[in-house]
Amino acid sequence: MLEVNGLSKTYGEGERTTRALAELSFTVAEGEFVCVVGPSGCGKTTLLRCMAGLLPPTSGSVSLRGHVVAGPPEQVGFVFQEYSRSLMPWLSVRDNIALPLRHKRLGKAERTRLVEEAVESVGLTGFIDHFPWELSGGMQQRVAIARALAYEPEILLMDEPFASVDAQTRADLEDLVLRVRKDYGVTVVFVTHDIDEAVYLGDRVVVLTQPPTTVQEVLAVNLPEPRDQVETKELPEFAHLRAHVFRAIKRRQELRPAT
């Protein structure tokens, strides 16, 4: 459904250029949950922004159902790494979530229903008329997820959404994402630097190298469903997979001269 073809991105011109993505190719199937894992600064955000049509690639392309992505496609929802800066502090939770729906041609009742359902599915029903700054970081990220869900995207792109919340909240949010993905039947591309998170969540894991970035390996995760924070993580297969990903990233690092 989503195809990344020989994608490369170089920032800047002339002397001061950063080659963020060298050459990347992989595909995402309909309904799949794909995790992209790689070390900090390897270009994960760059990749996701190219996939969302927010950033033109230097060469190569991203296509969605065979159409090359040139601007943000209507079917794509995005959850930003900086949740607190992607929510509007002057709008209530309800209005933040409703904002993207205003230009969809929906009736008022339908819009209200979508917003309230999304808020309920992320467990924030009691906070619908609060403002983002009245909520904790984890709750703000829930609002951002609810906003994406209410938009009814076919594809949800998530950029290290849980990088700055505490461990317990993070585990809750991971399970929340797995659940809503089933409920809403959405295709997910989830970027993280956390190997455990990638293996726990993904149907497949795309492992990226250090910059200049390419795809090191694509790994199928055949862990039993539904995933469970305790049981899944104590499976020998889980330990095996995470060790595998860890070595893949590490091996690549050792091949490179220290900087």
Partner: protein
């Protein structure tokens, strides 16, 4: 009583007490001084009551404030409109840059002769001068505010297809509003100054005209009562704007406070 609370009460007492003490000092001194230039404060206050409550409200205060409101209003609307256009477009900023720098550099009263030449000595000239003067702070602050919109918010708008007027109304303007208000505060002070000056230069009514006329006819207590009125009006106008800002930007203060938490 804990020390923090005691300190607060002391501060409030000082805040109210110092102006009262100054007034009392002025009162005592001016009654004793018997100076031509500084009439006794009780005399000034009696004159104030006789003159402004409410004899000259319709003939001087209302025309003055109406011109101020018109000039200020035009400046805010135009400043936000032009500032938004310049803030959104680097090309427009580049093209209009020198013009804006020149416009803001012209000392405001220098416009008066031009205004009188083109628009005569009526309301239009005064409103024009006030509007031109108030335009720049609003315009420049709006440009800054619009340019300062968080890039993540703009990306959010793009991903979710929020564009055009919707993007301006829901994202760009609210985000720029704290800066716009900062510009409006500066403009309001300038508006009051230019209101007075324009009435002193060419007018047959208005508070500024009254102050100058009183001075010319050696009605010193009347002159002082006009000065006091201008001070009171300036204070009230600033307070009204501050109140509006507090209400409109409640989210801004709360968000700042929670970011520091």
């Amino acid at each position: 009583m804990n020390p923090a609370r005691r300190r607060r009460i002391l501060l409030i007492a000082l805040e109210a007490g110092v102006p009262l003490a100054v007034l009392a000092g002025w009162w005592v001194w001016s009654v004793g001084a018997d100076s031509f230039y500084f009439p006794a404060l009780p005399t000034i206050l009696t004159t104030f009551a006789d003159t402004w409550l409410f004899e000259r409200v319709g003939s001087d205060v209302v025309p003055s404030l109406a011109r101020l409101a018109a000039g200020f209003g035009i400046a805010v609307v135009a400043g936000v409109a032009i500032g938004t256009a310049l803030g959104l477009s680097p090309v427009a900023r580049r093209v209009a840059g020198p013009l804006v720098e020149f416009g803001r550099a012209v000392p405001p009263p220098a416009l008066l002769p031009f205004g009188m030449l083109v628009l005569g000595v009526g309301d239009a000239m005064k409103v024009f001068v006030i509007a031109v003067v108030c335009l720049w702070p609003v315009l420049l602050n709006t440009v800054d505010g619009v340019r300062g919109v968080d890039p993540t918010m703009l990306d959010t708008a793009r991903v979710y297809g929020i564009g055009g007027l919707e993007r301006l109304r829901r994202i760009v303007w609210p985000s720029a509003l704290p800066q716009v208000f900062a510009g409006m505060r500066t403009s309001l002070s300038l508006a009051l100054i230019l209101m007075v000056i324009s009435e002193m230069v060419a007018s047959t009514e208005g508070i500024g005209y009254f102050v100058l006329e009183s001075q010319r006819s050696f009605a010193i207590a009347e002159m002082w009562s006009g000065i006091v009125l201008l001070g009171v009006l300036g204070y009230l106008l600033n307070a009204a704007l501050a109140l509006l800002e507090r209400r409109v930007l409640r989210w801004h203060r709360a968000a700042l406070a929670s970011a520091l938490r």
